[in-house]
């Protein structure tokens, strides 16, 4: 009996990377603890998040058990579906808060840009793998087009933050695929040069956000409010923090979106610099492990996919903490594995599943 149980457990956890999973679990744990405080001890919210977590675990397990080449097959259909849905949003989308980001399918509302977060790197990894060994500048040009289409569509919604993040995920693939440093430096220079032009074409609210980012006191009750209150929360936390459930900024409603995008401010207020440092270490461990997995991946597709997932994970963590602590402008990015929200949690665990799949299916290939 014990033998059977052990074997079943063995079979179930065979593809699970313990280190990666341990880090993820710790982060989710931090998230739940902080969420409890951020929602004024709402058991409902914590339970909901736990259910999402359970569902995400199942998906992670499934994805971890799918070999990378099978995942690769889904690349083109997913990408095409994503683009179609984005076009659909442009024509039939539902307007919420002045942005057309949602598509009403009758039974559910979906946000196709979420799908694109995985579909785009998948598509690019598939593409580079297809032409592996003979990748030339034309392939990078094609890849650039594959990036620009969804980025443009999402930017039009308008959702500049997501567009930039998705563009970044594409660029990571290009970088890892070996895009020449000269081109990278050249593009960076071009971006800097076209800055003023882009500024001229930004929406007022986008400009406002950037200006407010530069000086949050510009509009402390308007767009600068989030940033100002988050900085106050983190700063007032000090080295050791105010203690769990004791954050005044949190519990007196001064922090907006404190269980979702701004949950880090709650964490920073209640657990202080020590907590923040530990959180950074957790993320670093997770990302470091993911980089190791990526480095050891056997196929180009696996490398590119794993690399993109890893760097995106880092990007979300960095952008979120940077935005909450006032280093970056406010964009709608949740803190990976910590922020409340089922969709993000599920996407992240799918990403972890991909990494585990890459790791688990490595040996068979290298030998």
């Amino acid at each position: 009996m014990a033998e059977l149980l052990f074997r079943t457990w063995e079979a179930l956890t065979r593809r699970i990377d313990n280190f990666l999973f341990g880090c993820a679990l710790a982060l989710v744990g931090v998230g739940l603890v902080t969420l409890f405080s951020a929602t004024d001890q709402s058991v409902t919210r914590v339970t909901t998040q736990l259910f999402s977590f359970g569902f995400a675990l199942v998906l992670m397990w499934l994805v971890a058990n799918i070999p990378p080449q099978t995942i690769a097959r889904a690349a083109v259909p997913l990408y095409v579906l994503g683009i179609l849905l984005l076009v659909g949003v442009a024509f039939f989308g539902v307007v919420v808060n002045g942005s057309r980001r949602w598509l009403n399918l009758g039974f559910a509302r979906i946000q196709p840009s979420e799908l694109m977060k995985i579909a785009l790197p998948l598509m690019l990894a598939w593409y580079f793998q297809k032409f592996e060994g003979r990748i030339n500048w034309k392939d990078f040009a094609v890849a650039a087009v594959l990036i620009v289409i969804p980025v443009y569509l999402i930017k039009r919604q308008p959702d500049l933050g997501t567009a930039l993040l998705i563009g970044a995920s594409g660029c990571y693939v290009l970088y890892l695929a070996g895009l020449s440093w000269k081109v990278i430096v050249g593009l960076a220079g071009l971006a800097a040069a076209t800055g003023p032009y882009v500024w001229a074409h930004l929406h007022d609210y986008q400009r406002e956000r950037i200006l407010t980012f530069i000086d949050p006191t510009r509009d402390p009750l308007g767009t600068g409010y989030h940033s100002t209150q988050a900085s106050i929360a983190i700063g007032s936390g000090g080295v050791i923090g105010k203690g769990w459930l004791n954050g005044t900024q949190t519990h007196l409603d001064f922090l907006p979106e404190r269980h979702t995008d701004f949950i880090f401010a709650v964490f920073g207020e209640e657990f202080g610099l020590i907590g923040n440092g530990l959180l950074l270490v957790l993320y670093l461990l997770l990302i470091g492990r993911a980089l190791v997995i990526t480095a050891n991946a056997s196929t180009l597709f696996a490398r590119l996919m794993a690399g993109a997932v890893t760097l995106m994970f880092f990007t979300y963590a960095f952008v979120n903490m940077g935005m909450v602590s006032g280093l970056l402008p406010v964009v709608g990015v949740p803190l990976p594995l910590v922020s409340y929200g089922g969709t993000a949690l599920v996407s992240l665990f799918i990403g972890l599943g991909i990494l585990m799949s890459v790791q688990a299916h490595r040996k068979l290939i290298t030998t």
Binding site: P68, I135, I232, G237, G238, S298, L311, M321
Partner: protein, 661 residues
């Protein structure tokens, strides 16, 4: 397995093909190395980025910790003022003239309401909203700042409060508040004394800033506007208490951290006797005018009448524009505080004081007589200063000059007296400067002198001959006309000072300030302010003559049958210069008729009350003003409410031209 191999073979099958950027590299090992190097670069960047974040956290949580802690505290803690109870105003016998009560008000925050009109219409279905309320609200709206909360209705009934509570969800930006209100039970009676409170406006904010009382007015929406409500504002207001509360981002109080209770304002005990005030106002009927009654031995103002008055209750929750216009534009000027701000020529009421000045300076003795042919001529001039009695009073000594109010006697005296000496003497009685009464807005009146005339006509438009003092000016001033102009308050103080044998008090409407908590009572101006420079026996001469006026002179008719002995003096203040014509009340527009004065005190031997009565356009003082003084004395000294004959108050009903005032 199959698939995996397939995948791996495809994955590892390197075709020829040029590599972008580095065509010579085809070796998988080399490729993996290059890939790993790129990954390592990315890894270093990740590490650097996290170091950047950590540096930011160190900056925020160590170096800026104190700064942000302060911000968090000020976020968290709000100081909520607790408005103190305003002191109660009572009359000298403890009868309440102004009190505060708490009531529910329906308040709107216009900044939070999209369609104000529609909201008010909808509210009108739930609570009673009169056109008057709408007008008043509109006026408040025009005067208010953006984020202020303004009352639409006050004094909601319990039923209205309940009905609104049920419908509350329909009205964002509308709320019910409990506020302290002010009520004036006597309404129009003594309205100019008590005054009223109103919403604090910009002008008031300046006033508060001048007192350096800004913090004490946090949370206060109302303050005194006129009368003792204003002049004793700082006594009545009390000390604002504070509550330190923890608030959430929406400003809702979560819990109280500490509390400093407010201290109620002090109560005021007026020197006014409200029953006497009522009797006096009743005696005035619907005539315009002023009266001030003073207790000569203390300076207590016993009655202070300004007719017509106004209802101060109208002002408490903001007066609506129609009522305001009615008050403000009325030709009867109900808002004018006549005892303080009405300045009228004293006419013959000045004569006893000039006589006293002459006695003091030695220019006259009581027995010295002047012959009165009915007019006075300056040496070398043909112009005749006319006496009121066409044939003259014959031989007139000082007693007679006051009793019959002989003009010629005083023309002659004025011709021999330097105007500056006169001014100096009269100033001691309170003329020409503020009496110092304890409510605001007092006029100084005009006490003419050379210096005064020079200043009065100092402007460039006047020439030197305008500024020069002429003997003719002195002659007019000698019977209280010319440039002379006094307020009823000054007149009352002067007669009270005479009645008190020259010992003057600063007149005061407030007897004492009572601290509710300690029970301590502080008297206002309990000590005499000064004694006039006149000998007691000279004052006795004047007082004897004043008694004569009411016994056998111009005041005799009004005081016929009085159960006490009184002293008084009539006076008529010309509104319209007749230039030698005979005055006929019936021929002149009512508003151009003379003002009637009467100053008096009683009982004659030990005066307890002194009054100055002015009836605007009342004609002769003896007819219009003296009967009012009689009624007031009868009430005050005897407790009689319906004394003597009704005053003949309808000018034009009889010819008075052959009567001297």
């Amino acid at each position: 397995m199959m698939r995996r191999r397939l995948f791996s073979s495809r994955g590892n099958g390197y075709g020829g093909g040029r590599r972008f950027g580095s065509p010579e590299m085809r070796n998988p090992e080399r490729e993996l190395f290059l890939f790993q190097r790129r990954l390592a670069v990315a890894g270093v960047l990740v590490l650097l980025a996290f170091c950047g974040l950590f540096a930011r956290f160190v900056y925020l949580q160590m170096f800026q910790h104190e700064h942000y802690s302060t911000l968090a505290e000020s976020n968290r803690i709000a100081i909520v003022p607790i408005v103190p109870n305003r002191g109660v105003i009572t009359d000298r016998n403890g009868i309440v003239l102004a009190q505060s009560y708490s009531a529910y008000t329906l308040e709107l925050t216009p900044a939070r309401i999209a369609n104000l009109e529609a909201t008010i219409d909808a509210l009108a279905e739930i609570v009673d909203v009169q056109p008057r309320d709408r007008r008043r609200f509109k006026k408040l709206l025009e005067e208010s700042k953006n984020f202020e909360t303004l009352p639409l209705r006050t004094r909601l009934s319990d039923e209205e409060v309940a009905r609104f509570a049920v419908n509350r969800y329909r009205f964002p930006g509308v709320e019910i508040k409990a506020r302290l209100f002010r009520q004036y039970p006597y309404g129009e009676i003594a309205s100019h004394v008590v005054g009223y409170i109103g919403r604090i406006n910009e002008h008031d904010v300046e006033r508060i800033a001048k007192w350096e009382a800004g913090p004490n007015y946090k949370g206060s929406d109302y303050m005194g506007k006129v009368g003792v409500e204003l002049s004793y504002e700082r006594e009545l207001h009390g000390t604002t208490g504070w509550e330190e509360v923890e608030v959430d981002a929406a400003g809702r109080a979560v819990r109280t951290l500490s509390r400093t209770p407010p201290a109620s304002g002090n109560n005021l005990r007026l020197s006014l006797d409200i029953k006497l005030q009522e009797a006096a106002e009743a005696a005035f009927g619907d005539r315009r005018g002023a009266m001030v009654a003073i207790d000569p031995t203390t300076g207590d103002i016993l009655a202070f009448i300004s007719k017509p008055g106004f209802d101060p209750n109208l002002f408490v929750d903001g007066i609506d524009s129609v009522s305001w216009a009615a008050l403000n534009e009325s030709p009867d000027k109900p808002m004018l505080n006549r005892p303080l701000r009405g300045s009228y020529p004293p006419g013959s009421t000045i004569k006893p004081y000039l006589a006293l000045a002459a006695l003091t300076s030695g220019k006259r003795n009581p027995q010295q007589s002047t012959f009165d042919p009915g007019f006075y001529q300056l040496p070398g001039s043909s112009y005749r200063f006319r006496d009121d009695k066409p044939g003259g009073h014959g031989t007139v000594d000082m007693y007679k000059s006051i009793v019959v109010s002989c003009d010629t006697y005083y023309y002659t005296l004025a011709g021999e007296t330097d105007i500056d000496d006169t001014a100096r003497f009269l100033a001691q009685l309170g003329f020409g400067h503020e009496t110092g009464v304890d409510i605001e807005g007092e006029l100084t009146g005009t006490l003419p002198s050379r210096d005064w005339k020079r200043r009065r006509f100092a402007d460039k438009q006047y020439r030197e001959e305008h500024r020069k003092w002429y003997l003719g000016d002195s002659i007019s001033a000698g019977i209280g006309q010319g440039y002379n102009s006094f307020t009823p308050m000054q007149q009352a103080l002067a007669i009270a000072t005479i009645a008190n044998n020259g010992v003057a008090f600063v007149p005061h409407l407030v007897k004492s300030v009572v601290n509710l908590k300690s029970g301590e009572e502080r008297l206002i101006a309990p000590q005499p302010s000064h004694t006039i420079a006149a000998k007691a026996e000279d004052i006795a001469v004047i007082r004897n003559a004043l008694v004569g006026v009411n016994k056998e002179g111009t005041g005799a008719k009004a005081f016929l049958g009085a159960k006490y002995v009184s002293g008084g003096k009539t006076g008529t203040a010309q509104v319209y210069s007749l230039k030698g014509e005979k005055y006929s009340a019936s021929k002149i527009d009512e508003r151009l008729r003379d003002h009637a004065w009467f100053v008096a005190y009683a009982p004659a031997d030990k005066p307890r009350i002194a009054v100055a009565v002015l009836v605007e356009n009342g004609g002769f003082g003896a007819d219009a003003a003296a009967p009012i003084a009689r009624k007031v004395f009868d009430y005050y000294l005897l407790g009689v409410t319906e004394p003597g004959p009704a005053p003949a108050h309808l000018p034009g009903t009889k010819e008075t031209e052959d009567e001297s005032d």
